[in-house]
Structures are given as structure tokens and as C-alpha cells.
Symmetry: C2
Subunit: 334 residues, 2 copies
């Protein structure tokens, strides 16, 4: 039976490096690949049971997703699984549309995962707070909870909302609307905050009848936009707080015979891959979702290695991508 020493010999590294690489420790991507290739070539199967006894780790990471029908989450999950695979970690998946959140936290206690990545936390539940008091390794990506004692990775949603406001103001829009996701989600709140504050600062506050809040879905985008377009004084521009809502808005505009962008500008958020398809050609705020996922995965591996290190909050930049659903050039402010 091949051993980690056989792997080390073939990969041309020390056994300690093999051990570190296969337990998710810090080695370069190149070295990790060399080691994984060598392990495969010699047919080495790490003895997880023995290792778990020695390190107390099972080399398994829990991931909690929700709303897999929004392509944003499969994009995150794709990046997470590839990154964790390459780091020699297994992934246990929970769907929080079921009873996923608490189950994931219980799995840390039960020792069946080493830590958990949450992608859609909306509040600091009692089980989550209890887990953090026990220094359970937990990382939040995408959505965040202010003041929570754990590592958090997101993009700058306030700045993203602000950039959209600047863009619409510079292009002289007077009647502007906002279609937002649920205010329980930090992403929806922050995008609205940056957007509405900048408009208010410019002396053009959003009137309440042009602010609609609902789920992050195509259906809601469709119904909200229909409502806006059939009211007196319909808006000339609408900012949707994710791309799915914006796709619904585009469909509603077509149904109401409002020409995009001549009669109505539509802006989304996320820049999921299909936003660039000609069918949508959507102006939207780009989040580096793959990079965020990888940073979150690495943050969790770091946290497992150093349970009491200071918490980190990583906030990636976002930027506006101008396409055919609006007619103005890119804003002068970044």
C-alpha cells in the first residue's frame, strides 16, 4: 500500500509538505497540484480516520447555499467546490431552503465537518451566535451580518449602489425607481443605502412610491416593473438589486411596449454570466463572485488552522458594466 512518503518522493517534496498539502494547509497552488498528481499516480489514499484522530480534523467543509435557481449561487458553488477540491477538502452541502443552517452548525459540533461557509445568512440566529462563542470555524460570504464575530467576505454593495446613482444622475434621469430584494438580506439593504443616499445628497431623493421591495426573483421584477410602468409618470430608469429582478424588468418593459433603453433604462446587480447574452444585454454592477468564493474558502481553511486569530472582513471592489439596457457612457467616477 503506497504511503505519503511514496507521494513525496515522486513529487520531489518532503513528506511534511505532502501531509500539509493533503490536510488543507498552506502550500503553493503549483506544489499542491504536483502532490495531488503524484498521489493519484501512486494510488495513495490518505487514511482519513487515522488523520482525524491525530489532528481532530476530517478535511470536510460544510457549505450552506440557498436559492440554487438564482444562477449567482451556482456560480459561487462552482468556484467553492473547485477550490476546496484542489485543497484536498471534501464538501458537505446543505440547502438552507430546507433545515440547512442549524444542521450545518450541528455538524461542526458532531465533528463531521471542520467548519462551515454560509452564502446567504440573513441574521445572526441563536445557534450561529452559540457556535461563534465556541470559536467554531464559520465564514460568511456574499451576505454579511454587522458586528458578528467571524470572518466575512463580500463586495462593496454600498459603493455599487452609489455608482449606479452617479451614472443615472450624470445622464440626467429625473424619474428614477428602485426594485429591491428583501431587506433581511444585507446585500439588498446596502445596495439601496448607497443608491438612495447618493440620490438624496444630489437633491433628488427617491419618492416612496418608486421604491418596491420583494424577493430576488424574475417574477417580482416583472410585477414590480409592470406596476411602475402603468402608474402616472412612469420612471425613465430603474435600478434592480439583482440581475434576476432586472431580467423580469426587461420582460415587463417589452410587455408594456416600453422600449429599452429609449423609454426606460434598466440596471441590474451581480453580472451573472447570462447578463452578457444578447437577449438581456444588461448594464449591471459586476461582483467578482468567483474570487469572493475562493477568498471565503481560504479564509475558512485559515480559520480552522488558527481558531483564535483576529477576525477578518474582506470587501472586494465592484464596478459598473455598461451594456445595451442603458444608453449612457460609463460614469466618470469609479
Amino acid at each position: 500500500m503506497p504511503t505519503s512518503y511514496d507521494v513525496a518522493r515522486l513529487a520531489g517534496v518532503s513528506q511534511a509538505t505532502v501531509s500539509r498539502a493533503l490536510s488543507g494547509g498552506s502550500v503553493s497552488a503549483q506544489t499542491r497540484k504536483k502532490i495531488l498528481d503524484a498521489a493519484k499516480a501512486v494510488g495513495y489514499v490518505p487514511n482519513m480516520g487515522a488523520r482525524a484522530m491525530k489532528t481532530g480534523r476530517v478535511n470536510t467543509i460544510g457549505v450552506v447555499v440557498a436559492d440554487l435557481r438564482n444562477p449567482f449561487y451556482p456560480e459561487i458553488l462552482d468556484a467553492l467546490t473547485c477550490y476546496l477540491d484542489a485543497a484536498g477538502q471534501k464538501v458537505t452541502l446543505w440547502n438552507s431552503d430546507g433545515p440547512g443552517n442549524d444542521a450545518a452548525l450541528e455538524a461542526i459540533n458532531a465533528g463531521s465537518v471542520d467548519g462551515v461557509i454560509f452564502t446567504t445568512v440573513t441574521e445572526a440566529s441563536a445557534p450561529l451566535r452559540a457556535a461563534l462563542r465556541r470559536h467554531s470555524p464559520v465564514v460568511l460570504i456574499n451576505r454579511t451580518v454587522e458586528g458578528l464575530g467571524c470572518d466575512q467576505v463580500s463586495s462593496d454593495n454600498v459603493a455599487g449602489g452609489r455608482a449606479v446613482a452617479d451614472y443615472l444622475l450624470e445622464n440626467d434621469h429625473q424619474r428614477i425607481a428602485f426594485i429591491g430584494g428583501p431587506s433581511t438580506a444585507s446585500t439588498a439593504r446596502d445596495r439601496f443605502l448607497g443608491f438612495s443616499q447618493r440620490l438624496a445628497d444630489a437633491g433628488a431623493p427617491l419618492p416612496s412610491e418608486r421604491v418596491l421591495e420583494g424577493p430576488f426573483t424574475h417574477d417580482f421584477g416583472f410585477s414590480a416593473t409592470t406596476r411602475l410602468l402603468t402608474a402616472d409618470h412612469p420612471p425613465t430608469a430603474v435600478f434592480c438589486s439583482n440581475d434576476l429582478i432586472a431580467f423580469g424588468a426587461l420582460d415587463a418593459a417589452r410587455a408594456e411596449r416600453a422600449v429599452v433603453p429609449d423609454d426606460l433604462w434598466i440596471v441590474g446587480y451581480d453580472d451573472i454570466a447570462m447578463s452578457a447574452w444578447p437577449a438581456f444585454d444588461l448594464t449591471t454592477v459586476h461582483q467578482p463572485s468567483g474570487t469572493m468564493a475562493e477568498a471565503g474558502a481560504q479564509a475558512l481553511l485559515d480559520r480552522i488552522a488558527s481558531p483564535t486569530a483576529p477576525y477578518r472582513t474582506l470587501t472586494f471592489r465592484s464596478h459598473l458594466v455598461v451594456r445595451g439596457s442603458t444608453a449612457g457612457t460609463a460614469p466618470s467616477t469609479p
Copy 2:
């Protein structure tokens, strides 16, 4: 510390039923729910380690997905995770765009999963054949491998392709094209088989210059359709072997100023949720993806309980859903 007897008392069932339900055995959905609710209420955490020793099971199912950017797979994954959650099973996820297939089979050997569900197998690899010789619990869903000794769940892709041919023939199309996925995928092969045979039987065989094969992507649908529309005698109808290819075809038609459906009919396959959005309004063959996923999950739980039972092949019916990307009424044959 609460025990399974406390759960049984609250749920009003026997301890044996609780034990069976929590190890993924056969109980009614209603009873399972009652037991899970009771377990939650009394704070019962099954002792997985002790149980694994007793039953040799870890109540964890491996799932191998690929191509998460095709919304068809997140739909399957969503249904799988919800079903397995409700059955008290954890899900370990592999992405076969990484080294997922072999890793999943090794995990059965290592005892870290009880069985594996594959969603995108394209061939019977040597490790897969070896696993089946050892009676490792493996189920294939969506894509199948003929003659392979394992449970397989799919929909009738041959009949689906045939139904599209009937529909186009009944509506007098003369110049018909096919844009297919990779012939390594059973789904792509079977859809082509049913479609092309029926056309040939009707005396209107597909000419080779109107059969294009490539990946199951929007990009390929776009480039293939552009090629078809810019050739002499462009087709009046194109059957795309999944919805993503058809979305690319719709975008290409728009770019080439071919009006859908006046100049060109476009038909897809899968009926993913967004096919019904007005932006696409796509005529397509509906597969019951959620039902297929649930049947596959249950087939694996049954297989784990009865490793040597006869293999089952479950083939669900599919049906054509007519929308705005074609102009004919539904076909008279089912």
C-alpha cells in the same frame, strides 16, 4: 442527553421506526417528517459514530455534478438536496469539472459516503466498473450508460426527439436543422437518434450540413445558428438538444434579423424554469427533472439497504411544451 426513545415517545412511533427513519430506511414521508420534527424538538443528535460502527453506514450520500452554469444541474441539485435532507442524509458534493468522479468512488471505498449519485456520467470508466463489481451503491441520473450494472434514472430522450420531429413534420417544415450536444452524452445521442430516425422514416432525412455537434452551451448555440443562417438555403426550423443551446440560437436569430417564429422556429430540450420567461418563450421538451432527482435519490437509498437487489432502470416520460418560439399547435401524437 435525549435519546431516540424520547424522539419515539414524542412522535408516537416505536424506537425501531425512529432508528429506521434516521438511517435513511423506508418510512412514509409523513412519518419521517413527524420524527424529524420530534428529534428537533427534544434536541436529539444521532450518534453517527456509534451508528456507523453498528450499521457500517455514515448516512452521507455523494453527489457528483458538473456544469453548474447550466441551470438544469442546479435544478437537479436543489431537488436532490431537499429530498436527501428530509431523509436524514448528509450530502457530499463533488464537481466533476474537477477530479470529482474518481474521488467519489474512492469515498465509497473509504467509507466516508454510503453511495454516490452521478448526474453527468459520459462513459463507464474503469474505476466505475470496478466499483460496480464490488456492488458499491451507485445510481446514474439524467445521463445513462447502456448495459451498466447499476440503477439508472432518466427520461425518454429518444421519444422526446421523436416528438419534436413529428411536430415539425406536421407543420410542413422542409429545411430542418439539428444542433446537438456532445455525442459522449447519452442525452445528446438519444435526442438525435429519435429526431433523425423519425425524419428519415418520413422520407426527409437530415442532411449532414444541417447537423452540428458541440458543447451544451449558449455560445455554441449562437455560433452554430449563425453558421446555419448565413449558409445558402437556411433552415426554417432548428431543434437544439438543450435549452442553453436554444437560448444561443434565439440570440443568433435576432443578430441575423431572422424573425422567430416567422422565419425560423426554434425548439429546445429540458424546459428549465427560464424557458418560460417572455425573453425566451421557448418551445421545448419538458423533462420532470425534480421527479427524476427524487427517484434517483430514493433508488440509491434502496440500493444501500439492498445491495444485491436487481438493478432498475427508470425512464420517465417527457412531453413537448409549445410556446412562442414556434407557431404551430401541439402535435397530435403524444
